[in-house]
Every structure is written in C-alpha cells, then in structure tokens.
C-alpha cells in the first residue's frame, strides 16, 4: 500500500493502479524464429527482484495510461517514475 505519482494525473493511491510486472522485456522481433526455450524466457521467466526493480504500471482507474516505475520491492519505496519510451534512470 503506497502512493504512486502518475506522470499524467499526479499522486494517487496504489489501489487506482494495476501492476504490469517487470519492465523492459522486449517482445521478440521475429516470433517465428524463436525456440521453445526463448519463448519460455520471454513469457514466463522473471527476475522477481528483492530490491530495486523496474516495472510497468497502468493507471486503470484514472487516465488509463501506461508508464514505468522504479520501486524497491523490499520496502515499496518508489525512486522514480518515467513515461513509456523514455530512458530508464540509472540506478
């Protein structure tokens, strides 16, 4: 339970948002070329980091826009928020 500073709407309660999981997982450019191992990696395998994690969030009950959040999963402190397409801040 925490507040998220939506880059479009400002600070709102986390319950207004939906988590989209780990960010910057690139969709394969040539899906037909992929082996089963590579598909599993893309679809299922996650770092699931305890610590600072880059993730996607959607303001479901607000502007409904996607953006990225840098959050420490061990204490839920948010270090940065940035829009889709923007470069992730360095740690």
């Amino acid at each position: 339970m925490f507040l998220i500073n939506c880059p479009y709407c400002g600070e709102r309660d986390q319950s207004e948002f939906s988590s989209g999981g780990e960010a910057h997982i690139v969709r394969p450019k040539q899906p037909t070329e992929l082996s089963d191992d590579q598909w599993a990696e893309y679809l299922f395998m996650r770092k699931n980091i305890k610590g600072v994690q880059f993730e996607r969030w959607n303001h479901t009950h607000g502007c409904r826009k996607w953006f990225n959040v840098v959050r420490d999963t061990s204490n839920d402190i948010i270090h940065a928020v940035y829009k889709m397409g923007e470069k992730p801040p360095v740690k």
């Binding site: 339970m1 986390q14 319950s15 988590s19 679809l43 299922f44 395998m45 305890k50 999963t73 839920d76």
Partner: protein, 417 residues
C-alpha cells in the same frame, strides 16, 4: 526418538512443574561439509530433511534457516488442508499429502492437531456451479471424496451462512470435502524439526545464505552468515524468496513474489466448526481452537517482499465476510499480517531438478503450500536422493514452462489466486 512424548512423560514432567522438558531439537554449529543441505527451515524444508533421513538414510544433512523455525510462512498461513484439485497431477500430489496428514501425529510423535472438520467451497453464480460440479466429478474419478451441496444443504452444514437470495452474491450451492480440515501450523514445523533432529539432521537457525559457490556445472557449497558450508547437493525451499536464491546462480524462475494476508479476530465461543471458502468473493473463514476466527484475504497484485499487504485487500475480504456472515458484524479483528508467496503462472508448484547438477528447487506453492507440507517434503526428498522425480511430482518440473505442459490450477483449484 530420544524422549517419546506420552501420557507418562506428561505426568512425570508435571511433578517438576513442566520445567525440565528436554529441548525439542539441538542448536548445532554447522559442520564443514554435509551430503546435502536444505535451504529454508519452513514446514516443507524440514519435512524434506525428515524424509531424506527417514526414507533415504541421508542423515549427514543440514537445514539452514535465515530466521527461526516456524517464523516464516509456516506460521503465517490459515492452516487449511484439502486435496480437491481439478487436474490429475494436482489430485495425485495433494491427496498424497492429505494421506500423510492423516497419520502425521502418530508418525512424528507430535500432536499436529490435524482436524478433519471438512472444507466447503461456495458457488455464487452459474459458472461457479458448473465449475464446482465438474470439479467434484473429477475429484471422485481420482478417488478424492467430494460432494455437491445445494443451498439448503449448505445452510444445514453451516447454519450461520446467509443464504438469502437477496444478497449481492447469493449462495447457489457448494462442494464439501469431508476429509479436509485444518492443523496447527507451527506444530507441523516443530514436529518435523524434532523428528529430523532425532535422526541426526542439523537444524541451523539464524543462518542466512549469502551465495552459492559453483565450480563449472557442479556445486561446491553455500556461503552463509555462519561461514562456508560444503555440499554437493542443495535443495532450495525458500517460498517467497526462491527467486532471491535462484538469482545467486543466475537461474531465472517463472515466479512472482507477492504479499498474501490473513487476519484473526478476538476469540469467541465455538460458532463455526468447519472451513468455508468462497472463490468468487474471495473470503474464507474457519475458527481456531483458541476461538479466533481465522480469515484469509487475497494477494496484492504486484511484486513485493514487504510482508504486510494492502489495506484495500483486507477491506474487500471483510466486506464479503460480513455479507455472508452478518453474525460477525460486531467482531473485532485482533491481528493482521502478511507472508510473501511465490506464484507460478499456472498456480502449481515446482518440485524439480535444475540444469545445475545437484541443485533442486521446491517452490511456486503460491497461496496454498501449507496443505501440501508432508507430501511436498516426501516427494522433494525422493527427488534429491535419487536425482530423479517421483512419479507424483514428475509433472511439476521446471521444464513444463518450456514444453507448455502446464498444470493450470488457476481457479480450477477451488480458490481464486
């Protein structure tokens, strides 16, 4: 077993005002080397060590635990035990565990207070009715007891449920597994710890694993806060922290760790003598022997290791509880807590070898691992001792995420995930 617990030992110790009971397990310093190390001293890890010693004669083993025995998810769950899962693989796994539960207090010479008070799952809409009926049929084909109850039968079985058709999610019926029930969760950890210790297993508490040392594709041992410990075989059973250990060897797992909450009320006289779960509204409730209502809430929908959980999740659960049980409207809640659960995309566990020789993972139990504790330990011990899975956990390997042969228990398992 060193000192058997019995009515006679109870009487004997009464004369010394119960001040001279022996320690249930030793508190050893780690040896330099073990044949196998289990990381994680929860119920599953201790059960694994117990069955490794008991069935596979591996007694030169250790369980290393970051905190203390019974302080993790073993002591944080809502103690529900059932085996009414839809798919054959899950039915085999969870009913194996349930059969072990039925003899566990005798096996361990430790009262785990296993109480087969039944678990009832409610249906609140037509799709629930169809799904739950289908599941009872599937259960019966797998030899698992399950019956369908209509609304009147639900009311008869648990009279305090509000079965009025006027409520937002009316009760349209439910399923009942009579062999299901509850157990005292920390007694399970203590019983397995005592049993494993008696066979020579070292249980090392307050010992956090900091790294896993490898030499090419083989294992050398673990770096811990109590120094380096050599071992050729390592079994990882660290629930919500499975990915933390996996990241030490650059192994990616299909897991996300989330806080799952539970809460208990003030103690009251016996009012509910079974376990009632409700999938659609996500509320489940039972009553502990102390008289507290034990209420399970949902998970937060994002990765977090914070062991607390959000208020809105609890609020949603309590709203549902109040509509189903208006009699609880003035109950006060005493305690609320969270535990970190590791959830697989198919909501089924992983009990598996890995591509690293000698490294085994038992994880992904998500929101429902407690019920499987004895079975999980037994099958994981078999997997570690033989370097091959038992036929009951063969389907629960890591490679299923590559082959696509998933055991999809989302919703199918009679509870929302």
């Amino acid at each position: 077993m060193k000192n058997k617990y019995s009515i006679f030992s109870l009487i004997k110790n009464a004369f010394s005002y119960h001040e001279n009971w022996q320690r249930a397990w030793r508190d050893p310093e780690p040896k330099k080397e073990y044949d196998a190390i289990i990381i994680g001293g929860g119920g599953h890890g201790l059960a694994t060590a117990y069955y490794l010693a008991k069935k596979h004669s591996m007694t030169n083993i250790a369980v290393v635990e970051k905190g203390w025995i019974g302080g993790g998810n073993t002591g944080r769950n809502t103690t529900i035990i059932r085996s009414n899962y839809l798919w054959d693989a899950s039915a085999g796994l969870y009913d194996h565990a349930l059969k072990l539960w039925e003899g566990l207090s005798q096996e361990l010479n430790y009262n785990v207070m296993f109480s087969q008070r039944g678990v009832m799952n409610l249906a609140h809409n037509l799709q629930d009715v169809r799904d739950l009926k289908r599941r009872t049929h599937a259960n019966r084909l797998n030899g698992i007891d399950a019956v369908w109850l209509n609304t009147d039968e639900v009311k008869k079985f648990c009279p305090i449920i509000n079965t009025s058709p006027e409520i937002r999610y009316p009760v349209l019926g439910g399923t009942l597994q009579r062999r299901a029930g509850t157990a005292r969760h920390d007694a399970v950890a203590w019983g397995y710890a005592r049993g494993a210790d008696a066979m020579g297993v070292d249980i090392i508490q307050n010992c956090e694993v900091k790294g896993i040392k490898r030499n090419g594709d083989s294992l050398e041992g673990i770096e811990t806060t109590k120094g380096f410990i050599k071992a050729k075989k390592i079994g990882v059973v660290t629930a919500g922290h499975s990915s933390v250990i996996a990241n030490m060897v650059d192994l990616k797992l299909p897991l996300e760790s989330k806080p799952l909450q539970a809460l208990v009320s003030e103690p009251v006289k016996p009012i509910i003598d079974t376990v009632v779960m409700s999938n659609a509204v996500h509320a489940y409730v039972s009553q502990s022997d102390k008289g507290e209502l034990v209420i399970g809430a949902g998970t937060d929908a994002y990765v977090s290791y914070t062991q607390r959980g959000s208020h809105d999740v609890v609020e949603g659960t309590l709203k549902a509880i109040l509509e189903l049980y208006p009699i609880f409207s003035r109950m006060k809640m005493l305690r609320q807590w969270g535990g970190i659960v590791d959830i697989c995309p198919d909501a089924s566990p992983i009990i598996s070898k890995t591509h690293i020789k000698g490294l085994y993972f038992n994880c992904g139990w998500g929101t429902g691992g407690f019920k499987a504790t004895p079975g999980s330990g037994d099958l994981f011990a078999h997997t570690i001792a033989n370097d091959e899975p038992h036929k009951l956990n063969a389907d629960f390997n890591i490679n299923r995420f590559i082959s696509g042969d998933l055991v999809d228990e989302h919703g199918a398992a009679a509870v929302a995930h």
